[in-house]
């Protein structure tokens, strides 16, 4: 059954495990292992999720594009812009995430953080993975192939330097979060 073996080379398993250990630690420290925090993000009552995500994206982007410019990495690992699939899949994902209050990464971390309902949540994910495999041929024809722009980024698509987007995003995020922090402190003076 396992034509390429069951386990990847051990070095990959060790580096994967170390990455997961740090990632899980960080997710718990941000409290996004709690469904309430994620649901309240969607209810626009708690902006922890956006603060974590946007900070990660800005810091990550600066480093990755700098490494790319310096030739430290060979290329990017961009997924195909199959825009219909990305959009419909993203919307379905959003509905599921609002119901569960967790996503795959935070769901697994939540199990470690004592979130018991994350266990049936992850069992649901396994079931969903199998059901998707059954529907994959049909969905690929219907939603993935029709509008596939390939490995496009915002930079390649607009023929602009990626730094316009990175700096723009950083400025926008900085200003947005500054305003958000002020608004949050006037709304509930005692919250941290």
């Amino acid at each position: 059954m396992y034509e390429s073996g069951f386990f990847a080379p051990w070095a990959q398993l060790v580096t994967g495990a170390l990455t997961g250990l740090v990632f899980g630690f960080l997710l718990q420290k941000a409290r996004v292992t709690r469904p309430d925090v994620i649901v309240r993000q969607f209810l626009l009552k708690d902006f922890t999720v956006l603060k974590v995500m946007i900070s990660a994206v800005v810091v990550g982007a600066v480093g990755i594009y700098a490494m790319l410019a310096l030739g430290w990495i060979d290329g990017l690992q961009v997924k195909n812009a199959a825009l219909l699939g990305n959009a419909v899949g993203g919307a379905i994902f959003g509905v599921g995430m609002a119901v569960l209050g967790l996503c795959p990464g935070t769901g697994l971390a939540a199990i470690g953080d004592g979130q018991r309902d994350a266990i049936p949540g992850v069992l649901g994910m396994l079931t969903g993975g199998y059901l998707y495999a059954l529907a994959h041929p049909w969905l690929t024809e219907a939603l993935v192939k029709p509008l596939d722009l390939g490995k496009a980024t915002l930079a390649t698509q607009t023929h602009l330097s990626p730094w316009w987007f990175i700096v723009g995003l950083a400025v926008l995020a900085g200003a947005g979060f500054f305003a958000l922090e002020r608004w949050e402190s006037t709304r509930s003076p005692r919250s941290a």
Partner: protein, 191 residues
């Protein structure tokens, strides 16, 4: 200053920045992008394959994940270690005399659907099922698209992020704000 590993929560910006730095390491040293949901399919394929191997071999999508490449890979190790990493973070922050955190029914859910654990577990199962279906259709989840793809400025990922938040906000308001009941006190503690 208190030992940061023993404080219960870190500022979200600091955590985000650290995840960004983690992505430098996975890209630069491991030639990998942070992601979590592909290996959920690997695991599903292994489980189904234990019962019906021929069925898994015959399904091109499952075979790609399980038969043609090792199902227990970098990301599978990452996924399993997520549980341990979060457990470690929670355990280190326990103060003397406190017990580790356990929650069965989140308060937002309990305020809308009541304190029943069975109902919440069923809801969580359905939510998990829906979201992985969407993740696989979109080609990634909050990690693979939201963080790794977002930071690479991928068009696919920014499309995913906008759709995710649009649908998430709309469905959260529909699910949690309509016909809202009085908050249930201590819902996570009861049977």
């Amino acid at each position: 200053m208190r030992n940061p590993f023993r404080t219960s929560a870190w500022p979200p910006y600091a955590v985000g920045a650290a995840i960004g730095v983690l992505s430098w390491i996975t890209f630069g040293l491991m030639d990998k992008a942070l992601g979590t949901s592909t290996s959920i399919v690997n695991a599903a394929g292994v489980i189904v394959g234990a019962v019906a191997p021929e069925h898994v071999k015959a399904n091109a999508y499952l075979a790609k994940h399980v038969v043609k490449s090792p199902p227990f890979d970098w990301q599978t190790a990452l996924d399993l270690a997520l549980v341990a990493g979060a457990a470690l973070a929670g355990w280190l922050a326990i103060k003397p005399g406190e017990r580790s955190r356990v929650e069965h029914v989140p308060s937002e859910w309990a305020a809308r659907f009541g304190p029943s654990r069975g109902l919440r577990y069923a809801g969580a199962f359905v939510g998990g099922l829906i979201l992985i279906f969407g993740a696989r259709l979109a080609g990634g989840c909050t990690s693979g698209h939201g963080i790794s793809g977002g930071l690479q400025l991928a068009l696919s990922s920014w499309t995913f992020i906008v759709a995710l938040f649009g649908a998430g906000i709309a469905s959260a308001f529909l699910i949690y704000r309509t016909g809202r009941r009085a908050p249930v006190v201590g819902a996570s503690g009861g049977l």
